[in-house]
């Protein structure tokens, strides 16, 4: 296995528009943020960009803020910054948890939310949370700006709705304050990537769950919602039977899509998706 990348050209634009211009001009150029997905892929020659456009110092893509409770997270925010942000902990605790569980300290200090979502690795944590939380991705490209809901952003394994030359500028997440939410994961022992990760967002009225969003990642080619599990939880009081039924429904929803490997074969991951839904509900209600 090669551990050195192929040759490439390197650019460090000083503005977002310059970066977009560079990317739009060259089909073989790639944006470089934290480099913690792209560089390993280049080292293994899975990715061989001609040019790297280093967006890492663009202030336009930085910062975490709230506006009427809606979280706005700059694409360059690192996992560590997000995990430590009190705004994130207040308005989307599950995202703070998920980013805090990414890889190891080095990965969390370098890897960015924008890079993570753009890469759309099936074993990633943040996509699952952004999807369950009903997040929106703000994009800017050669044809201007647009926004895409997380429901429409993730298309397949390593595939998103991003168009050539487009960058994620920030991610908006409606405040989940007052809703119960949690992310739990079964981590691969070596890489710490998710074998299965489940995020639930539960709106409670007294003992009754009046709405639920459930997403699963790790086991499936992309972060995936489970409409049947959401249905089982909604209107229930989250009693054991209802949560068990939701777990079973989730497993059925994703059944045909589950991926496996030597460590965690398909059957095992499928079963774990159900287990981790139950654990996510428990964690949210704890």
């Amino acid at each position: 296995m090669s551990m050195r990348p192929a040759n490439f050209d390197y650019q460090r634009p000083t503005s977002l528009s310059e970066a977009i211009q560079l990317l739009a001009n060259n089909d073989e150029a790639k944006a470089l943020a934290g480099g913690h997905s792209l560089i390993p892929a280049m080292n293994q020659r899975l990715s061989t960009p001609e040019q790297l456009v280093d967006i890492g110092r663009l202030d336009e893509l930085k910062g975490i803020s709230t506006n009427n409770g809606t979280l706005s997270i700059g694409a360059l925010s690192t996992h560590a910054q997000i995990a430590a942000s009190s705004d994130v902990r207040t308005h989307c605790a599950a995202l703070a948890t998920a980013t805090g569980l990414v890889g190891d300290p080095q990965v969390r200090n370098w890897g960015t939310l924008g890079g993570n979502l753009a890469h759309a690795d099936p074993a990633s944590d943040p996509p699952t949370v952004v999807l369950a939380a009903g997040g929106t991705l703000h994009l800017q490209g050669p044809n201007g700006t647009r926004s895409v809901s997380a429901d429409n952003f993730f298309i397949d394994l390593f595939t998103t709705d991003l168009q050539p030359g487009e960058l994620i500028t920030r991610i908006e997440i409606p405040s989940l304050q007052g809703k119960k939410n949690a992310y739990v994961k079964l981590a691969h022992p070596a890489s710490r990537y998710a074998i299965v990760g489940v995020c639930v967002v539960l709106e409670m009225n007294g003992n009754e769950c009046v709405s639920a969003r459930v997403a699963v990642g790790g086991a499936t080619p992309k972060a995936t919602r489970s409409p049947s599990a959401e249905e089982r939880l909604t209107g229930s009081s989250l009693q054991v039977a209802a949560v068990d039924a939701a777990a079973e429904a989730l497993v059925n929803d994703i059944a045909g899509d589950v991926m496996g490997d030597l460590f965690a074969p398909e059957d095992y991951r499928r079963a774990m998706a159900g287990v981790y839904l139950k654990r996510a509900v428990q964690a949210a209600m704890a």
Binding site: M1, L186, P189, A190, S191, L262, F263, A264, P265, D267, Y268, A271, M272, G274, V275
Partner: protein, 734 residues
């Protein structure tokens, strides 16, 4: 000096990074070597075209089978070609029998050129039928891998003691199991590397990491057809071994290339190359049936052991010899019937690995013992105490153990220091409370074991030491020549401590000359828990004689001593009767686990290990060995799953072959070090470094059974296997 945790003599250099390992050493003008390995599990090589590789600029030479003067090697049986392919006069060396066979060697100006060139070698194979299951390999119609081993059987050991029919007729309960153990990769820190060159006296010299310099030398000079004194082997620091460096990897080809080219030649294997191309711990399948009376006395034990040797013997016949003895545990049983087979297959070869057949035997034996306890409704410690070998007890092979049998003391010490209390004349288990979370279940398990120190079963054991006393009126410097390999276990520190003690000088006065065939005589291998025992006796003998010469006014006073332990004998071919070993170690372990019954994760909370070490020459190194063995055995039992598909390893990376890290190790390990002297050991010391490995896997399966009610007769217990099996029993997720 004995009994002190002296700072290791290699500590400073290793922690500062100054100490060179084989891969760190370079010589001016050195070339780089790369090996091309087989692309088939079993095939005849009909042609090999090296012309494209040779034409690549920077390539200096390509060697194939025809270039090896005596194209065979092997630690016990020389059954493996150094290089497979046509053109060699060694019969059968044109056949590859495993993916790890070498088919060509490229030497080039740089590592990168050599790596490129090996891919340009065109090998034409004619596939042969292959066999990957050890029992299928024993069938009459199976492909035969080696002409002189009908039905692919390398060794078949028998034990016939007592009268089985009488035994079964006394049995009130009978327990049975089919036990399956997996491969294990040594995963030492330093992958294989070395440097071959011609030294200042014209000797073909190889700098490498190994476990026995003189054995490496023997294998090299045999293959090169050279007289012994023209080959020299030197070890710098060795980055771990665990048995995995007992056989040849890069040694012979480095020597061959340096000799042919008369230039220094270097190679470093990647982790992937290392995992793919050195031997593993034997997977075994063990059928076992034991019977006992209702008061807990075992009256009959029957076992059939099959070990997958892979394509070549390595040390399989020795490993299986140990399993044959250990598969009925450290118990006195009157009626015993054991058949043990080592079998060739087209899988990766298997050989030495810490415990050397002991862990597989103990896995079956201790599970049987724990199942007996369950069937009898008896405490597992109590039932062991009714059966353990004692001073004078007869082994299954009809002879008593050497004096100093301490398995009863070890079992009781472990029980007492862990979860058991003695009351009303019996042992009782005190279980800690269960966690509140219903997905988590805790359990306690117990197992014990014994293992021989040294290879024995008739093996001519020896260890040489030379002591030189320099000075005038008083001894100013002591030079000790002792070849024994320090594979990271701290042997060299102990050599210095024992020399200082034997001569009666402070350790600062002792200088060790070691790891070099040109400066020392043979020590035997650093394996089989033997090095402290053997070298200590040799150092003591040499010191006594040197001190006598010193008394007689000789300056310097130099004495060389060869220690030979009492003779042993091989198994009788029909009955197994023998005096198998001259020394043993004894150990017992109690384990507390927490099983997540939904995810299948097993967390080892605590291990209490009682190990009789005879005397702890360096107590810190003793606890280091105990803790290290436990972590390695935990990996063996739970995590380490080497997957082979039709002879091909599927996960040759540390990202996919998972070994324990700091996040996985037991929360607590309590080492209970017993010092009950071995009358034959130096200052009473026993071999100990394999012992703590041996009973851990069955102690864990017993603890998992205690937690869940389910017996796991197969290891490793990876999460998906655990979940699958628990679901079959209606536990956890349904």
């Amino acid at each position: 000096m004995i009994g002190q945790s002296m700072t290791r003599i290699d500590a400073l250099g290793k922690v500062t990074g100054e100490t060179p390992y084989p891969g760190d050493i370079n010589l001016e003008g050195q070339l780089w070597l790369k090996m091309r390995f087989s692309d088939r599990a079993h095939a005849r090589i009909t042609a090999i075209d090296t012309s494209q590789a040779e034409a690549l600029p920077g390539v200096v030479a390509v060697f194939t089978a025809k270039d090896v003067p005596v194209n065979e090697y092997g630690l016990v049986i020389k059954d493996q070609p150094v290089i497979c392919g046509p053109g060699s006069d060694m019969p059968g060396s044109d056949i590859v029998r495993t993916y790890m066979d070498c088919v060509a060697v490229v030497v080039a100006e740089t590592d990168a050129i050599a790596a490129k060139a090996v891919k340009l070698i065109d090998v034409t194979y004619e596939d042969l039928p292959a066999v990957f299951d050890m029992e299928a390999a024993m069938e009459d119609d199976a492909p035969q891998l080696h002409a002189d081993s009908p039905n692919n059987i390398i060794c078949h050991y028998r034990i016939r003691k007592g009268d089985m029919e009488a035994g079964w007729s006394q049995a009130d309960v009978v327990v049975e199991g089919v036990y399956e153990t997996g491969y294990q990769e040594h995963a030492y820190l330093q992958p294989e590397a070395g440097l071959g060159y011609i030294d200042e006296e014209g000797r073909v010299t190889v700098i490498v990491g190994g476990q026995w310099v003189h054995e490496d030398q023997e294998q090299i000079y045999h293959a090169l057809g050279l007289p012994p004194e023209q080959v020299r082997v030197i070890y710098p620091a060795i980055g771990g071994a665990f048995g995995g460096r007992e056989d040849m990897s890069v040694q012979i080809v480095l020597a061959l290339a340096a000799w042919k080219l008369q230039r220094p030649v270097k190679t470093i294997w990647s982790r992937e190359e290392s995992i793919l191309h050195h031997h593993k711990r034997h997977p075994m399948r063990i059928y076992s049936k034991w019977g006992a009376t209702k008061d807990g006395k075992i009256v009959a034990a029957e076992a059939k052991v099959i070990g997958d040797a892979g394509a070549y013997n390595y040390t399989s016949n020795k490993v299986l010899g140990n399993t044959n003895l250990m598969v009925t545990g450290p118990y006195e049983i009157d009626n015993v019937h054991v058949d043990t087979y080592g079998v060739y297959t087209n899988n990766i070869p298997c050989g030495a690995f810490r415990g050397f057949g002991g862990p597989q035997g103990a896995f079956a034996a201790e599970a049987q013992m724990n199942k007996l306890a369950e069937a009898l409704g008896m405490d597992p410690v109590e039932v062991r105490m009714k059966n353990v070998l004692r001073e004078g007890s007869l082994l299954t092979v009809g002879t008593p153990l050497p004096k100093g049998v301490t398995i009863p003391q070890v079992v009781e010490a472990c029980a007492e220091e862990s979860y058991w209390r003695r009351g009303d004349g019996a042992w009782h288990l005190n279980r800690p409370p269960q966690p509140d979370n219903p997905a988590l279940r805790r359990g306690i398990g117990f197992a014990c074991g014994f293992k021989n120190v040294g290879f024995s079963f008739g093996f001519p054991e020896q260890n040489w030491a030379t002591i030189e006393l320099h000075g005038g009126a008083e001894i100013e410097e002591v030079i000790v020549r002792q070849a024994g390999a320090d594979v990271g276990q701290g042997a060299h520190t102990v050599f210095v401590q024992m020399t200082a003690e034997a001569v009666g000088v402070p350790v600062e006065k002792v200088r060790l000359l070691t790891h070099d065939t040109a400066k020392t005589q043979t020590s035997g291998s650093s394996s089989a828990s033997r090095m402290t025992f053997m070298s200590g006796n040799a150092i003591r003998g040499a010191a006594q004689q040197a001190l006598q010469l010193w008394q007689d006014e000789e300056r310097p006073a130099i004495a060389t001593y060869q220690y030979k332990p009492p003779k042993t004998t091989p198994y009788h071919p029909e009955t197994g009767e023998s005096e198998p070993n001259f020394a043993y170690g004894y150990v017992a372990e109690a384990v507390e686990v927490e099983v997540d019954i939904e995810t299948g994760h097993i967390h080892v909370i605590k291990v209490v290990c009682a190990n009789d070490v005879g005397v702890a020459i360096n107590p810190q190194q003793i606890t280091g060995q105990i803790e290290g063995a436990i972590v390695q055995a935990q990996g063996y039992a739970i995590m380490e799953h080497l997957i082979s598909n039709e002879g091909k390893i599927q996960n040759p990376f540390l990202s996919t072959y998972l070994i324990p890290t700091v996040l996985d190790v037991p929360t607590e390990v309590k080492s209970v070090v017993l010092e009950l002297a071995d009358p034959r050991g130096p200052w009473g010391a026993r071999g100990m470094a394999e012992m703590p490995f041996i009973p851990l896997a069955p102690a864990i399966t017993a603890a998992v059974h205690d937690a869940t009610g389910v017996w796991f007769d197969e290891i490793p217990m990876t999460p998906d296997r655990v979940v699958t099996k628990l679901r079959e029993h209606g536990i956890g997720i349904l």
